[in-house]
């Protein structure tokens, strides 16, 4: 396992399974009345959030605290960053404070790569621009595995704005690593031009794909796409690519419905579907803490990477 977690492609199958197995173990303490392990005592994790994302930040914060790490939350708003301080200077500041791990969320694709050049500690990508969000993919895989058993050969359908989705990129890569068969479904305007180079199938027809899906993962439609001619109207998008009750009913009996949140109820997913027994949306949030605990534990667990045979970059 590498020193940083920046892309889902950084993970071998063994790495990914180790994280998922570790998450499973750590998840047990979430059921205890005292939800705390001493593992990362004395270590410092910085949550460096240049983009507002309360849910991801508190998930990482809970994960680090349950492992007894010291947590520093650094949000760009109201800090020197908003006064024009560069990412590099912020990184050097963190370095001077002795951060063992930096969890970074940033609106620019590749910002975690850049940060990793400037800090000694481990960098965990908590979402960078339209690039990746690897811990989201890990918590999604964790959730699928719990509901469906192994992922080998499972058919996962990812629906929506694949072009701009960091969740989709990380999920396609990780699910392929884990042996699942991924199909992405979107209007052609919301797929990258080189989608044929990705390890997944592509369809423009949600209704054709749903009956053979074990998992259907709906992506959020961002407001800024709605007025940029990616699709004619929100209603047309919803009719063609939204998951309503009628569509949910053609899914196989065991199939689950996922969404990384936050949802646009009534756009990509109907309220009845989001609240149905198939929906794992609330579980995903809970599982996020366990998956992130596993990542922090394995990256910061000792003076050497806890599961690494080598430190590679």
């Amino acid at each position: 396992m590498k020193r940083h977690l920046i892309s889902a492609a950084d993970l071998t199958k063994d790495d990914a399974l180790l994280i998922l197995d570790t998450a499973e173990e750590l998840d047990r303490i979430s059921g205890r009345s005292i939800k705390k392990l001493p593992t990362l005592r004395g270590r410092t994790v910085v949550n460096l959030f240049f983009e507002d994302s309360t849910r991801t930040r508190i998930s990482f914060e809970a994960a680090a605290k349950r492992l007894s790490a010291d947590v520093i939350n650094f949000s760009a708003k109201g800090s020197s960053v908003s006064k024009g301080e560069s990412l590099k200077d912020t990184a050097l500041t963190l370095e001077a404070m002795g951060a063992d791990g930096v969890v970074i969320r940033h609106s620019a694709s590749g910002a975690p790569h850049r940060l990793a050049n400037w800090v000694q500690g481990s960098v965990v990508n908590a979402g960078d621009g339209t690039h990746e969000h690897p811990t989201q993919a890990l918590l999604d895989a964790f959730t699928m595995r719990r509901r469906l058993g192994g992922l080998e050969g499972r058919k996962v359908t990812i629906v929506g704005d694949v072009l701009h989705s960091r969740v989709a990129r990380s999920n396609v890569l990780l699910l392929d690593t884990l042996g699942a068969e991924v199909t992405v479904v979107a209007p052609p305007t919301l797929l990258p031009v080189a989608i044929d180079t990705w390890p997944c199938e592509v369809s423009y027809d949600l209704d054709a794909v749903l009956p053979k899906s074990d998992v259907v993962m709906m992506l959020r439609v961002q407001h800024e796409r709605m007025n940029a001619s990616y699709f004619p109207t929100v209603r047309e998008y919803s009719r063609r690519y939204g998951l309503d009750v009628a569509r949910m009913n053609v899914l196989p009996e065991h199939a689950i419905v996922m969404h990384p949140g936050p949802m646009n109820r009534g756009v990509e997913i109907a309220a009845e579907v989001a609240d149905s027994v198939r929906s794992t949306i609330v579980e995903q949030v809970a599982n996020g803490v366990s998956a992130r605990m596993a990542v922090l534990y394995l990256l910061l667990g000792g003076s050497e990477p806890a599961i690494g045979k080598e430190v590679s970059e």
């Binding site: 560069s86 990412l87 590099k88 940033h106 609106s107 620019a108 694709s109 590749g110 910002a111 790569h113 850049r114 960078d128 621009g129 339209t130 690039h131 990746e132 701009h164 960091r166 990129r169 990258p192 031009v193 080189a194 989608i195 180079t197 990705w198």
Partner: protein
Amino acid sequence: MSTYVIKNARILGGDPADILVRDGAIAEIGPDLDAAGAQVVDATGLVALPGLVDLHTHLREPGREDAETVESGTRAAAMGGYTAVHAMANTDPVADTAGVVEQVWRLGREAGYCDVQPVGAVTRGIAGEQLAELGAMADSAARVRVFSDDGHCVSDAVIMRRALEYVKAFDGVVAQHAQEPRLTEGAQMNEGEMSAALGMRGWPAVAEEAIIARDVLLAQHVGSRLHICHVSTAGSVEIIRWAKSKGCPVTAEVTPHHLLLNDTRAGSYDPVFKVNPPLRTADDVTALRHALADGTIDCVATDHAPHPVEAKETEWAVAAMGMIGLETALSVVQEAMVDTDLLDWAGVADRMSAAPARIGRLSGQGRPLEAGSPANITLYDPSPRRAVDPTAMASKSRNTPFAGLELPGRVVATFLRGRPTVLEGKLQ
């Protein structure tokens, strides 16, 4: 002025001969030349080329003297074997009046390291809306013949048509930065497999090709000279090849970096590889090399674009676009074109000296190495290989994409009208 005898130089890579330089001109070429009081320059093993001419240099002065000045940029040019550079117009203030182009021209003369030929903006403030006073710049002391809004595309078809027509009156040429603006809003890198994987806004090849297609048709229609800046895609090459086959008066340039690097470099997210137009695919690189070899692309132009450190030590999305290239251009061309047997040294002399001088209408540059020509001479040792060291460069900026890369060759001497600007690899 000193007299020099350059001994045993391989002129355009040919057999060794001596070059006698006197009074700023080449007096004689032949075996065993000598002259009383002449300084001897041993050029054994060195290739002699006509002084290189760059059609596309950003000297940043006036306005961004923290990145480059006319003096530092022309020192870099001399170190790269250049005796003339065309200074692009996107300075601050923009070179869109006779006053600014004369200022840049005068700064070049004062620095003295190479000829500085200012390029004039096509439109006022390179805003793309109203023609700048092209005639005033042409008639000024700077004698502007190349006009470009480089950095921005003259995207309005009517403005482009008018500019093409208007510059005919003084034998000017419009050098187009071909980039359809709507197709490239927020674009970060070549659109393709890499941009899809890296999650960066794509810059489609068609955004360049559509403008080139439109402009060659316009140039054909109005019978005007058109030059295409920094051609970067295989599709652009096809369009230019077609246009030339129809007799369209179009010329084109390619940068050294587009001849050597491709878009996989963006995988590091290091903005030193962020440039406009973006690095393209390996197939595009191959097409560009062949187009330069067969003359579809007329010349190499550096698009030397200095930026201060802080403009590149950032996230990719906010970093400045551009890379420096004057001091590595000849080495890159050797690596990409000569060592691959696509071009011989005579071909290099054409693509890096004669052709750009012809396009820019520089009468005293790009002349053949023969008696009577101005003594603009570059002596180049193609044998050593070295890792590119940005800290050793004469440019004020360090944003070279070739840092650490091993490249062949070294400029040993540069003569500007008989005066060495570089000798033994050192600025004079």
